[in-house]
Assembly symmetry: C2
Homo-oligomer: 380 residues x 2
């Protein structure tokens, strides 16, 4: 759904500190994420994809709200929140984690940043984990402080992002390793930068720690990136589906468990530490999977845009699952999709019908991340 | 912000079971609320307002997600969630309540429905109270089950809504009292109806308990309402501001306490029962208010639409608060607003400047709910 930015429904939905900049730089469509506007359209999603994989794009992801957890018991509390074993998480390191409820269902899939021994940020997908964490803390008996700080991330993603970071922060930034973070300043603007993102390309996230500098930071980065072909952009549905990355609410929700989406590696049932959902996840693990997320190629004309509804996946007329995310990849020359299907129908090469508004289409289960269709179709 | 419904950003934002019906009936703009689309524009917000106050409108408020709380300790748990004294809440009764955090900040302002001795629904404003409640329950040591059931409310609001309910459910529905509920069926469609709403007009909420019937229920109500002038519509910003009703995130958030928004009546510090935020709210109460929500008349040309930003409120060049919601009331012939201002500037008759994008304007504090401007302006 695309917004027209000239009318308003009031202040009920917040604007990021980069909102005016994104309008100035040509944003034409916004969605809503964590109760805030997020630009999702700069006129041509396919051009945004090519910009991302060929040079670099700057994306307003101020909607990635941070849950800050501090205090003497912060580390213990954060481990309670996720099935991932955090015993090896160093100060200055980031990890992709799942937040699970008591039933083992996924509530969010944030990046966890460890800024200090007892100082953590959860950089959120679209759900109020601040409320989840503060609710747990009421009776957890742990000494922690949980808040949403004034932090507004940008994503700088694409092969040229390294050179742009170098231009902004000097050579020293080049040794920032994948999934590590650093506290830096840019002409006095307080920042945290991490080598993370949501694009499967080389990329960085730049966390502004004072929203008063939103416009200044955005312009500063666009100027530094100009020689390297930096374009204003937005998170690319094409690229993230190619990479098989989850979009929360679309590909996973609280009724989805980590194993179903192939993220069992983020669950450590054997660690001594307790975490919420441990018993449920052990049971789910021992009972085995009933359904599983798979990659699909869908035949037919290029899709005009992403699916706005879940499409039924059928075999011999029986529904065996649903397409959760689908899009046309101009690079692969194919419609690609993520689908949740019965475990008996999840093998590579399995063929389906996908029921789309524009009619039924043939589809086949393929490996993800997605690569050369021809090779996979032949292999099958 | 208005949507164009012909493009999509995927399945990340959910559609209500009435979504197709609202498109069919002329919805032109949607916003996002509790991770779902909500129609907010049927072409003319002012006509929607006149429809509401002269006949009746049917509104898709499927975004009002229900948090269902059951189990032996359900009543005790629900009381933990709110400062309002629930000791007199009967089965079949509803109450407007505030959900507060440990600091006494407002997390949500739902309608609480008591369907049974140990069966409650919280009909939510825009925040994930399901996560808050489930988080608290992890270590609360109470025997409760907390879930989001398949329930999708509609609002039938306006002076003709009683006759339409009579046409739908027969004479017996006429004795449904204000803020009471009843479990009913409509041609086999399972429903709960309550005499509640968000319009300050006679009105009902109709909670569909099986989303498969969304289209059928909507059409059924529109047919029954046709003789009474029922129009498809949306919650009216004009009417709710006239009535001084809160819009969560706009007029209140987790940094707002109940006293600041004039809802001290929903806080019972003297009841024996514990609730989350009790100590903080006692402290806030004893220290006295620092700021307070007031009603404003704003001079000048009729506003084209609601404010999409918080507008600074100044006196002699000093900022003393912010306008949180503002709109032109065609009935009052005046721009009306809700503002949060320093307690020393909150008296009726206090004059301000409001800094709007279109320039500064004179404003004056008046009583809310809003009534005849002339009378108030003379009185001041």
């Amino acid at each position: 759904m695309a917004f027209t930015v000239n009318t308003g429904f009031g202040t009920q939905i917040r604007k990021s500190p980069y909102f005016d900049a994104t309008v100035r730089w040509g944003a034409q469509g916004y969605s809503v994420y964590n109760h805030m506007y997020i630009p999702r359209d700069f006129g041509d999603p396919e051009q945004n994809f090519w910009n991302l994989i060929s040079t670099a794009i700057l994306c307003d992801v101020g909607v990635e709200r941070q849950v800050e957890i501090t205090g003497p018991d912060a580390a213990r509390f954060v481990q309670l929140l996720t099935p991932r074993n955090l015993s090896t998480l160093s100060v200055g390191q980031c990890k992709y984690v799942l937040i699970t409820n008591a039933d083992g269902g996924i509530l969010n899939d944030p990046i966890l940043l460890r800024l200090g021994e007892n100082h953590f940020w959860l950089s959120l997908a679209d759900s109020d984990i601040l409320l989840w964490a503060q609710g747990i803390a009421i009776y957890a008996g742990l000494d922690v402080t949980i808040s949403e700080p004034d932090v507004s991330p940008l994503q700088l993603q694409g092969p040229a992002s390294g050179q742009i970071m170098q231009a902004l922060f000097g050579d020293s930034i080049m040794d920032l390793a994948y999934f590590w973070l650093r506290e830096v300043e840019l002409d006095g603007i307080p920042l945290v930068v991490s080598r993370t993102g949501w694009s499967c390309e080389l990329g960085y996230e730049i966390y502004l720690r004072d929203s008063a500098y939103g416009n200044e930071l955005w312009e500063r980065i666009m100027v530094a990136g100009q020689p390297f072909g930096l374009a204003p952009g937005h998170t690319s549905t094409i690229r993230r589906i190619e990479g098989g990355m989850l979009s929360y609410h679309a590909d996973a929700d609280r009724h989805t468990n980590p194993y179903e989406v192939g993220l069992g590696r983020l669950v450590d049932l054997d660690m001594p530490a307790e975490f919420i959902g441990k018993a449920a996840l052990r049971r789910i693990h021992d009972e085995g999977l009933r359904r599983k997320q798979v990659g699909l190629f869908i035949e037919g004309e290029p899709l005009a845009g992403p699916n706005s509804e879940f499409w039924a996946v059928t075999q011999d007329g029986n529904t065996v699952g649903k397409v959760t995310s689908a899009v046309y990849s101009p690079r692969l020359g194919y419609n690609i999709a993520l689908a949740m299907v019965d475990i008996d129908s999840a093998d590579i090469g399995t063929r389906f019908e996908v029921l789309m508004p524009q009619g039924a289409q043939q589809a086949m289960v393929v490996d993800k991340p997605f690569y050369d269709p021809k090779k996979q179709l032949v292999a099958a």
